[in-house]
């Protein structure tokens, strides 16, 4: 638990809750505005590897939780940061200034959950084509409406709900 207390001392205002995951990984819930500062402090403590950014949609609480999985290669330790944002206007500060790996991971989270990362230099979809409607990992995504992808005259991706336009 020394990492958590160390981090908490560096930015006491930003830390909302400290705990552990079921498998024992240290967990820290942070306020959105303090996220880049805590991320920078974590990197200084040796968490140089941003393994994954993912997220969970909580429609009942009108919130989206974004999860940052960090790893320290020297100490062989994990750290999990969690930040919550409103569901209707999902915004979080970008950590791409701290870890360059966040450039792609934040694009993926934006693509699948619709969280806008402020300060990201090139926030656009990474897996789905740009004109795709909706963010599929949100619980209210309409799975029954098929979207069709075809190629436009300039080679760009065209998305349509119309089966007649086809693939």
């Amino acid at each position: 638990m020394s990492i958590l207390t160390d981090l908490q001392e560096r930015s006491p205002a930003g830390v909302l809750q400290v705990g552990a995951l079921d498998d024992g990984k240290p967990l820290m819930r942070v306020a959105p505005q303090a996220l880049p500062q805590i991320a920078g402090a974590a990197k200084e403590l040796g968490f140089a590897h941003l393994a994954c950014i993912t997220g969970v949609d909580y429609p009942d609480e009108h919130e989206i939780e974004v999860i940052y999985n960090l790893y320290n290669y020297d100490q062989r330790e994990n750290l999990v940061l969690k930040a919550r944002t409103s569901r209707d206007e999902a915004r979080l500060p970008s950590v791409s200034g701290v870890w360059r790996a966040a450039l792609f991971l934040e694009r993926e989270t934006y693509d699948l959950l619709g969280v806008r990362f402020e300060g990201h230099p090139d926030l656009k979809r990474i897996l789905l084509p740009e004109p795709w409607v909706g963010h599929p990992l949100r619980k209210d995504y309409e799975m029954n409406r098929q979207q069709f992808v075809s190629k436009g005259p300039q080679g760009e991706d065209v998305v349509s709900f119309d089966p007649q336009e086809g693939w």
Partner: protein, 177 residues
């Protein structure tokens, strides 16, 4: 093509056939597949090509890296929606006459990815398929059987079972029927 069997055992030195039959025979025994693996089925496809199963026995030995030199597309793996227009382009770039083997459950109807947003429910909604090889993944033997089935279809006088639909309207028509 019965006369050619006599040529093999040396009993006959003259073979009577038609030019069309001869062309079909040659075509069926020199299918050049496109190097085109989309997911895990591609591993079985590579295995079918390697020395244990040796796809070259059936004249289908050279996997071409460019569609211009290939006339058989083995769609091996999950077809994502974003890949769909690219598959169509590759198919259109292949030399005529061209054939398609749909390998594996994903390629036939979406397979385990039936209820997802990102997977095409069957590659036959994009390009015409000649032979479906079921399995998850199909064994190399199954792929070889699919290849032999395709060769028989090419060698038969009827040729491929149905015409090639092309415009999107025709394609969705074909996928509905």
């Amino acid at each position: 093509m019965a006369p050619l069997n006599h040529a093999k055992d040396g009993l006959g030195s003259i073979v009577m056939t038609t030019v069309e039959d001869f062309l079909r025979w040659g075509r069926s025994n020199s299918l050049w597949p496109l190097t085109f693996g989309l997911a895990c089925c591609a591993i079985e496809m590579m295995s079918a090509q390697d020395s244990d199963y040796d796809m070259a026995r059936f004249g289908s030995e050279i996997f071409r890296p460019t569609p211009r030199q290939a006339d058989l597309m083995i769609v091996a793996g999950t077809v994502c929606k974003r890949m769909a227009p690219r598959i169509k382009t590759l198919f259109e770039q292949m030399a005529e006459p061209r054939y398609v083997i749909a390998m594996g459950a994903c390629t036939i109807n979406g397979g385990p990815y039936q209820y997802t947003y990102s997977v095409v429910h069957g590659v036959d909604k994009i390009i015409p398929v000649d032979v479906h090889v079921p399995g998850c993944p199909p064994t190399p033997e199954a792929l070889l059987q699919g290849l032999i089935k395709l060769q028989r279809a090419i060698r038969s006088r009827e040729g491929r079972p149905r015409p090639v639909p092309f415009s999107p309207a025709e394609l969705s028509e074909a996928s509905r029927s």
